[in-house]
């Protein structure tokens, strides 16, 4: 039987100070153009937490709005704050930056995160308030705090990475080694942010799945960070590290890396492990990326918009044995961009969309919703990258027209019916196909749609090891578990049939 989607967690963290201090666009600018206009203008374009909270794409990401609600809004979204915004949604929450620093300390097991004691005292009550998710064992990991002078010393004299709130120093991440370039404060900060946001997503996924933490047997981290020292850069295992703090005591785990395509690869792997019977319950998880904060900030400042890339994202999806209810992952319909596929957009979409459909005699229009790259167009349009989901839908629709499934005139309707408006932050792997999995689960259970295709794509060439593109896809469909169970013949039924046949035979002999 196919594996099913048991529960999903989607979280965001509003991190305006990390935009300034940790995003690579800004750190690069500080090196090459420290007195330039961009860095001067940047602070006035940063959003407050309230502005980020009331931002429609963010409310959609945590499940307080639906993709349909978002599609009905006129773009841009940033100047249209939503009224009924809330911090916690059906899928997860939007955590403020200060509380997240406490979560980073909870995630740290090497005494690297140091926080100002007055800041800790002021922030801890709010951090501990959501005790359904932030449990006592996590709160207990928060230390009393240090004198600010000690933190200033670590930042000024010991190469620590500062943690800022409203541009004021409130803590730091210390380096983990004196000379190892893979354990610098900068890298430890990046990895701890990824780990802490993954932990938060895991906690919400467990809550939403309605399972006990001990039921998760395996965790796959599919983020984009490399954890390891100078002898094993990228050695991992961020998955098991996050599982430890999240309290998943029965879990092992490993990391899977494939740039932005990694979440889709990981979900296929998780579904396969469960279907094979290797594990009963697997969590796929990823925290966010500090490097990409403010990535397109120069264009946003130039166009007079707020810095919209101020959110660290995270997600976690729990895959389990078929429960006869929840939507399942159809592993017979996996699309693959292979080494020989080529890099043209048409070749990429054919390999990911039409090849798996053709193998099953299905048409493009037989899939109710496609979830390719779900980047928020508010972010990408001012930066000149256009509306990325829309570009994907146009290519899929063009292929449908080329195959004679519809006419080119139907393209608009195809996009409206089979497409979605993007809502995810440009955090690389975070927007890649997976933001819709939570909604797909809901919509299939509600009978709103019958299936959805999740498409993950990755830019392997960024690592300078190959010029190849990458991508995989799979289909989520309504549960067929019970049907499959009925279609097979159990051992008991075979015994019963043989017994009945023998009784009939004996009766016929006696009659003779």
């Amino acid at each position: 039987m196919n594996s099913i989607i048991k529960g999903c967690g989607y979280i965001l963290v509003h991190t305006p100070d990390m935009v300034v201090h940790n995003g690579t666009t800004q750190t690069t600018e500080r090196i090459v153009n420290p007195d330039g206009d961009y860095l001067k203008a940047l602070p006035s374009h940063l959003r407050t937490y309230e502005q980020a909270l009331h931002y429609a794409p963010n409310q959609t990401y945590i499940g307080n709005m639906t993709p349909d609600d978002l599609a009905e809004m006129a773009q841009p979204f940033y100047d249209k704050p939503v009224e009924n915004a809330a911090r916690v949604g059906e899928f997860g929450e939007i955590m403020p930056e200060g509380e997240f620093y406490l979560l980073m300390q909870a995630a740290d097991v090497f005494d690297l995160v140091h926080l100002d004691k007055d800041f800790v005292a002021a922030t801890k009550p709010a951090f501990a308030a959501n005790n359904e998710v932030i449990t006592e064992d996590i709160v207990a990991r928060i230390k009393e705090g240090d004198e600010l002078s000690h933190i200033e010393h670590l930042v000024n004299d010991e190469h620590a990475e500062g943690l800022y709130l409203d541009d004021k120093l409130v803590g730091c991440v210390a380096r983990a080694h004196d000379i190892d370039v893979n354990l610098t404060a900068h890298i430890m900060h990046e990895n701890l942010v990824s780990k802490a946001s993954s932990i938060l997503a895991l906690l919400y996924a467990v809550r939403n799945a309605g399972i006990d933490k001990s039921e998760i047997e395996y965790v796959i981290d599919c983020s984009e960070e490399a954890v390891g020292d100078m002898n094993q850069r990228g050695g991992g295992n961020l998955a098991k590290s996050a599982a430890e703090i999240a309290g998943l005591s029965g879990a092992s785990g490993s990391d899977l890396r494939a740039f932005c395509a990694a979440p889709t690869h990981a979900l296929i792997e998780a579904a396969s492990l469960v279907k094979a019977g290797t594990y009963k319950c697997v969590a796929v998880t990823a925290g966010g990326s500090t490097a990409k904060l403010g990535m397109n900030g120069k264009d946003h400042v130039k166009k007079g918009t707020p810095i919209l890339e101020d959110m660290v994202g995270g997600f976690s999806i729990i895959i389990s044995e078929n429960d006869g209810v929840n939507p399942e992952i159809n592993l017979d319909m996996v699309g693959r961009h292979t080494v020989g596929t080529g890099s043209s957009p048409q070749a990429v979409i054919s390999s990911l969309v039409t090849d798996p459909l053709d193998r099953h005699g299905m048409k493009i229009l037989d899939i109710d919703k496609y979830s390719p790259e779900m980047q928020n167009p508010d972010i990408t349009k001012p930066a000149g990258a256009g509306d990325v989901p829309l570009a994907n839908y146009k290519m899929i629709g063009a292929l449908a027209a080329k195959r004679g499934e519809m006419t080119p005139k139907d393209l608009g309707n195809f996009v409206a019916q089979h497409g979605l408006t993007g809502w995810a932050p440009t955090q690389g792997h975070i927007p890649s196909g997976v933001p819709y999995v939570g909604f797909a689960k809901k919509d299939i259970l509600a009978g709103k749609i019958k299936n959805a295709m999740i498409i993950g794509k990755g830019s392997l060439f960024l690592g300078r090891m190959t010029n190849l593109f990458d991508g995989v896809s799979f289909v989520i469909q309504g549960n067929t578990g019970k049907d499959e169970a009925n279609s097979g013949v159990s051992e008991e039924e075979v015994k019963s049939l043989i017994a009945q046949a023998l009784r009939d035979f004996a009766s016929s002999l006696m009659a003779e």
Partner: protein
């Protein structure tokens, strides 16, 4: 005559638009000398 014929060309492709290798193939058939080609990602 192609405007690219005999010209040295630097190509920056877009991962969500037209990738570098695809532009490179077109430019080469138009007679260009491709001195650098890459694909970048902005999302």
């Amino acid at each position: 005559m192609s405007i690219l014929n005999g010209k040295k060309v630097i190509i920056i492709g877009d991962r969500d638009g037209i990738p570098g290798p695809a532009i490179e193939e077109c430019a080469k058939t138009a007679g260009a000398d491709v001195v650098y080609s890459s694909t970048e990602c902005f999302v």
